[in-house]
């Protein structure tokens, strides 16, 4: 496993290197790190949009309290 690709993937995995990936090329390793990065970004973006949309649905009366819980 290429050290640079391993480092990138390790970083995406929160600092822990995966086992048994010796058969993967540097490109595979970097490719998966990119897929994981995109998945996290998409999820965060979707969550942000969902929260905004949810606040539109919540009755005005509750909105302030919910907003405080969500955003402090």
């Amino acid at each position: 496993m290429n050290e640079n690709a391993e480092r990138i993937l390790k970083s995406e995995l929160g600092g822990k290197a995966p086992h048994g990936m010796d058969g993967l090329t540097e490109a595979d390793m970097a490719g998966f790190a990119g897929i994981l990065h995109d998945a996290k970004r998409r999820q965060s973006q979707a969550l942000e949009e969902a929260v905004d949309e949810a606040l539109e649905i919540v009755p005005r009366l509750l909105r302030g309290a919910i907003r405080r819980i969500l955003f402090g």
Partner: protein, 434 residues
């Protein structure tokens, strides 16, 4: 499931988790399935941790709003993936209440994205009829992997309800990819004999023997025997299709333990099939026994094979070396199968008998005791001496002394009588010296 299939299933699960197609992760095909699974566990944690703070706040905010409104927001704003992420962070009873107000199709989509380990209590507390409805949708969508991940988290009532609505093909495909194989026994225990017979017929008609035989690897010995008996009670056509599948897909290592666990009558029925008795099939069975050390399975099958088929196996066994025979002797000792071993040994050619006799000389005391007891009980002393007689004189003397030293008075008496009747001097001499 072979290593490649295991890896394919794990790749599919990983792909789903990171929102891509399996094809995008083909490079993981060369990685061991367990390593992919470990990576998936890491990715699961990372995906949850990435937004943990906000997900937890969403879960907390849910407490403030009415259940019905939470369901509307979940469906319209969050969608199945984010709801799946939040589920495990909710109070289980509240999650179940919210789910009551969500459409089944939505819950099925949520179930596909759910990490069951993080939502185990929610899954267990869901009403059985709702689980059944979700299972029906998942089966229709052929989401066998998602179903397989959920099974071990279901309550008994939910599992039973789901089994009622899922057809045999979906059930076999789900069991095949189940994450917690240890739950397969509990699943089988909930099925009636009639349903199991129907499932076995489906395995035959739909070409799902690999799936069905995979299930049999993970049930208890009693269940394995029961399922084997049920299969043996079905038409030749069903059993022949299993033999063909075992031969084509290298599944004998799964079939042989079933033949061992089934009743003697069922085993006779199986061994009597013309499809089992062909030379290629017998050769593959013997190969599987050798590769997987399934000698006990082979030994119980031998006595019920017709003589011609047994001779074919004997011809194949002639090529075995001494270490292989030692493995067979160990199995005979461990599983109390000396009788079929001796009866089979006398059908072998003389060089093979000689290798067995050599191995007899190296048996531990308790193994010799077991051998002698069975020889006495089954009156196999003549056969035993015939095998030892294949050795050179020094070897005959050594093995005879070993047997005479361990034999009690009664056993020694029958051995000596057999030696006298068959002019086998080494044992008579060994008996005199004890």
């Amino acid at each position: 499931m072979n290593a490649r299939q295991n890896a394919d299933v794990e790749i599919l699960k990983l792909a789903r988790l990171v929102g891509v197609e399996s094809e995008d992760l083909r490079y993981f095909e060369q990685v061991d399935a367990q390593d992919i699974r470990d990576l998936r566990d890491q990715v699961t944690v990372v995906m949850f941790d990435a937004d943990r703070q906000m997900l937890q706040r969403v879960a907390n905010a849910t407490r403030l709003i009415p259940i019905k409104l939470a369901a509307v927001i979940g469906e319209q704003a969050f969608g199945p993936l984010l709801c799946a992420r939040v589920t495990g962070l909710l109070e289980p009873s509240r999650a179940v209440d919210i789910a009551r107000h969500l459409p089944t199709e939505f819950l099925a989509s949520l179930a596909v994205q759910l990490d069951p380990r993080r939502a185990s209590r929610v899954i267990a507390e869901m009403p059985a009829d709702q689980i059944a409805a979700i299972a029906r949708v998942l089966a229709r969508r052929e989401e066998h992997i998602a179903m397989g991940r959920l099974v071990s988290h279901l309550s008994k009532a939910s599992l039973a309800a789901a089994l009622d609505v899922v057809d045999d093909e979906a059930l076999l495909k789900t069991a095949y990819v189940m994450e917690s194989k240890s739950s397969i026994g509990a699943l089988v225990a909930l099925l009636s004999a009639e349903r199991l017979e129907q499932i076995i017929r489906t395995a035959s008609s739909a070409g799902l023997w690999p799936e069905a035989l995979e299930v049999l690897r993970y049930v208890s010995d009693d269940q394995r025997g029961w399922l084997g008996d049920l299969a043996a009670g079905l038409e030749d056509e069903v059993l022949d299709s299993m033999v063909r599948a075992a031969q084509a897909d290298d599944l004998w290592a799964s079939v042989l333990p079933v033949t061992r666990a089934m009743s003697h009558e069922s085993r006779e029925r199986f061994a009597g099939l013309a499809s089992v008795q062909t030379r290629p099939v017998l050769a593959t069975i013997v190969d599987a026994a050798a590769q997987e050390a399934l000698w006990a399975e082979l030994l119980v099958l031998l006595p019920v094979l017709p003589p011609a088929a047994r001779r074919r196996v004997a011809a194949l066994a002639t090529a075995f070396g001494r270490s292989v025979f030692e493995g067979i002797l160990d199995a005979a000792h461990e599983h109390d199968l000396w009788s079929p071993l001796i009866l089979f040994a006398v059908e072998l050619e003389k060089p093979a008998q000689k290798r067995i006799a050599e191995s007899l000389g190296g048996l531990e005391d308790d193994a010799v005791d077991g051998l002698l007891a069975e020889v006495y009980n089954e009156r196999l002393e003549v056969e035993l001496l015939g095998i030892i007689a294949q050795l050179a004189l020094a070897g005959q003397k050594r093995v005879a002394k070993r047997l005479a030293d361990r034999a009690d008075e009664d056993i020694l008496a029958v051995l000596v009588q057999a030696a006298e009747d068959n002019s086998f001097a080494p044992l008579q001499k060994a008996a005199k010296s004890t």
